[in-house]
């Protein structure tokens, strides 16, 4: 686990680093600290980081821009903030966890569990997507399915358009509501979009969506998916 702490107050950064090491010393392969998000850009762009602990105050435009910039990244974001009341707003754009200040060892442990499970405490309602130098917020309700695209993923929207996201399919799925199901190594769909499961020749399976799209279903996942759809 490669961790970056963005925090301009040295004692707080030291505290977070110390507690992370104490709770998950063996798993953390790299732990760096930066005073500002801008200062950490190079490291983040190079894809050397799994989780960013971001000190954030959402009051004002700057804070929200910083949040969406971080949420659009390939890495997971954990917001650390003095403003506990801003937690829900942070979760809306797709962060893994929100740690209110002041925090202790127990809270850091809980966050580490969340990182290991790779599932957000509160599902996102939009996804921050970087495109052409700016960041858009794509409503999760508009997403039909997600397809892996190498280290990235592609969001296929209800209008048929596709948006490339810096996060891997695994990480995106961790932020999405449980209505999204991994049906294939490279696909995750919204279950209420699935109208039919089909068996193709050569023991290949596919899910037919309401839109008429067909999404491949992995052999190992077929039975579970069928059960879930039958139960639902």
């Amino acid at each position: 686990m490669r961790v970056l702490i963005v925090e301009d107050e040295p004692p707080v950064a030291r505290r977070l680093a110390r507690l992370l090491r104490a709770e998950a010393g063996g798993e953390i392969t790299d732990l760096a600290t930066a005073a500002t998000f801008a200062e950490a850009q190079d490291r983040l762009g190079a894809g050397d980081v799994d989780v960013v602990f971001l000190d954030l105050n959402l009051h004002g435009r700057d804070g929200f821009e910083l949040l969406t910039a971080s949420a659009a990244g390939a890495f997971h974001t954990v917001v650390v903030s003095a403003h506990g009341e801003q937690a829900l707003r942070a979760f809306e754009v797709g962060v893994l966890d929100f740690v209110p200040k002041p925090f202790g060892a127990a809270r850091v442990r809980a966050t580490l569990d969340r990182i290991r499970s790779a599932r957000s405490a509160v599902p996102a309602t939009s996804l921050a997507v970087r495109s052409a130098g700016r960041i858009d917020l794509v409503p999760v309700a508009d997403v039909r399915y997600v397809q892996a695209a190498g280290a990235y993923s592609e969001l296929v929207l209800r209008d048929g358009s596709r948006r490339l996201h810096d996060k891997s399919l695994d990480r995106i799925l961790g932020l999405l509501p449980v209505a999204f199901e991994r049906v294939h190594r490279s696909y995750a769909v919204r279950l209420d979009e699935v109208v039919q499961l089909r068996v193709r020749e050569g023991s290949r399976y596919a899910a037919v969506l309401a839109s008429g799209d067909e999404v491949p279903v992995g052999r190992t996942r077929y039975k579970a998916l069928r059960d879930r759809l039958g139960a639902g």
Binding site: D8, E9, P11, A82
Partner: protein, 572 residues
């Protein structure tokens, strides 16, 4: 303000009541006087007892207009023809108004006297200027009669040329009642002006900063005094030797009313160079005393001068959108229009109603202005409460408190001694903040203590040794709470100071009754360019509340540092 409206209403009502009353009284006087023919007057200097008799030969006497008697102080006689109509009321009375001691005869019968006619100043005794003599019914027969007056005027100042003001015959009852009926209107005005004057006097006593209230009170009382001096002759009366003194009193009071009118408007509307304006009106009014032709033209000239200046002041006030200026301008305009329409008659017929309307307009505009001031005052109070709440919130906001506590906990767990110091520094800052909240100004020493407590806390949080040097800064001088504190806070927020020592300096210089504080904070290598935050807005609002319009705040980079200059008056 209900009472102020009541006063305005009272004066406005009086102005309606008074006007017709005065006119009726004037008409009655004319009717009474038509019984004597002023053109029949003949004068003779000299003193012969037989001249009282209707049969005396006055063919060679000086026939002239009644109101233009010969220029002499010695004994002289006046004879006039009077006609008694068949239906004339009974009993009849003969009225004489003259600046002279006299004996009054009706067909040779002595009806009475005023004072004692004398051959020289020593032997003459001045009597009432206006007298009314009953005519016995036996003498008041219908037809032609001869009125004879024996007069001397040794106590008459030479400047009073027309010393015979009137001789009239009419119903005794009506003539006796005339002084009061004719002056009912002016007396009502007098009461009204005294009441409003006293009311504004009391308002001013309650709030001495309200100079317009004092001037309004003085103006109303001066108008009341003018009314009193005008009515004095008819209501109370006086001996003829005091006539000139009364004329000067009336003229002087007219001048005072004119100057006070201008002063009231000039002060109320905060006109520029108002001292010169008021002095100019006083001088121009004084020059108007030189207007020839008696005392009425002088008074009218003074009034016209004052109204013209007042018109200028109120028109300027309307242009500058001063509250209540519209009322004031309308009142002055109505007065000016009345003067133009009535000319010299203005003084007798329209002066007091018009002036009552003007004062009513003045009171209405004062009321509007007071309401405006009260609203601004209330807004200022609300702003003060808001700023105070902001001050309290400042350091209870989560960003400061939770970050500080997080650092403190870290210190407590890793270096308990430092942890205690962090918590103590935080407690210090919160304590000073609690102490200064609710204040609008605190001594610089407290403000510096607040800044240093904050720098201590931030020092632990940022691994920076902050220092604030304030040499030569007067610790007693007062500043609004948390102004410097906010500037220091901003410097730390906008600069990512690297660990080490950072020194802030504060200096104070004084010139021209202003003190200038200069806060110099070093610029870090990569300053975060942020918009002007709520911090500076707080500082500006605090300064405006504390010394409205008399402060200045500038800041900018200078030689590698961020320099903020704050100018305040020396005594705030």
């Amino acid at each position: 303000m209900g009472t102020m409206r009541l006063a305005t209403l009272l004066l406005a009502t009086l102005s309606l009541l008074g006007a017709p009353g005065a006119q009726v009284a004037a008409a009655q006087t004319d009717a009474v006087r038509t019984a004597v023919d002023p053109a029949s007057a003949r004068y003779q200097i000299g003193d012969v007892p037989g001249w009282a008799s209707p049969e005396a030969d006055d063919a060679g006497w000086d026939r002239r207009w009644l109101y233009a008697p010969p220029d002499t102080q010695a004994v002289l006689w006046l004879r006039l023809d009077a006609t008694v109509a068949a239906d004339a009321p009974r009993p009849l009375g003969l009225s004489v108004s003259a600046v002279a001691a006299r004996e009054v005869y009706w067909d040779g019968v002595r009806l009475g006297a005023s004072g004692r006619v004398g051959a020289d100043a020593a032997s003459e005794v001045a009597g009432p200027i206006d007298t009314l003599h009953p005519i016995p019914d036996s003498l008041a027969t219908p037809g032609r009669h001869v009125v004879a007056l024996r007069m001397s005027t040794f106590r008459r100042p030479p400047s009073i040329g027309g010393y015979v003001h009137g001789v009239g015959v009419g119903g005794l009852e009506g003539m006796a009642a005339w002084p009061l009926t004719a002056n009912l209107g002016p007396l009502l005005f007098l009461g009204g002006f005294v009441l409003v004057g006293l009311y504004y006097g009391v308002l001013h006593a309650a709030d001495r900063r309200r100079t317009p209230y004092l001037l309004t009170a003085l103006l109303c009382l001066a108008v009341a005094a003018l009314l009193g001096a005008e009515s004095w002759r008819w209501v109370v009366g006086y001996t003829y030797d005091l006539h000139l003194a009364r004329l000067w009193t009336v003229t002087g009071l007219t001048w005072l009313v004119g100057v006070l009118l201008v002063a009231t408007f000039a002060v109320q509307f905060d006109a520029p160079r108002r001292g010169a304006l008021i002095a100019g009106t006083a001088v121009a009014g004084g020059l108007a005393l030189g207007v020839p032709g008696g005392y009425d033209p002088k008074a009218l000239a003074i009034i016209i001068v004052a109204l013209a200046v007042a018109f200028g002041v109120t028109a300027w006030a309307v242009w500058r959108r001063r509250p209540g200026a519209g009322f004031a301008l309308a009142g002055v305009a109505v007065c000016l229009a009345t003067v133009t329409a009535t000319g010299l008659g203005f003084l007798d017929e329209a002066f007091f109603p018009a002036f009552a309307a003007l004062v009513a307009a003045l009171l209405a505009s004062l009321g509007l202005q007071t309401r405006d001031q009260r609203q601004r005052h209330e807004a200022a109070l609300a702003e003060a409460a808001r700023l105070d709440a902001e001050l309290v919130k400042k350091n209870l906001q989560p960003h400061f408190l939770m970050n500080t506590l997080t650092s403190a906990i870290e210190w407590v767990e890793t270096d308990p001694a430092t942890g205690v110091r962090v918590l103590e520094a935080l407690a210090d800052e919160l304590r000073v903040l609690a102490e200064v909240s609710g204040e609008t100004a605190i001594p610089m020493a407290r403000e510096l203590a607040l800044c240093r407590a904050h720098l201590d806390v931030m020092g632990y949080r940022r691994d920076v040794r902050f220092r604030l040097d304030a040499e030569g800064v007067d610790p007693e001088a007062e500043v609004p709470p948390a102004t410097l504190h906010t500037l220091v806070e901003n410097a730390i927020t906008h600069n990512a100071y690297p660990p080490g020592a950072v020194r802030f300096t504060l200096t104070e210089t004084r010139a021209d009754g202003q003190r200038r504080y200069t806060l110099t904070t070093p610029l870090a290598d990569a300053p975060e360019a942020g918009p002007e935050g709520g911090g500076l807005r707080y500082v500006r609002a605090r300064l405006e509340e504390s010394v409205p319009g008399r402060w200045a705040l500038t800041s900018g980079p200078e030689a590698g540092a961020w320099v903020t200059r704050l100018d305040l008056p020396c005594a705030s």
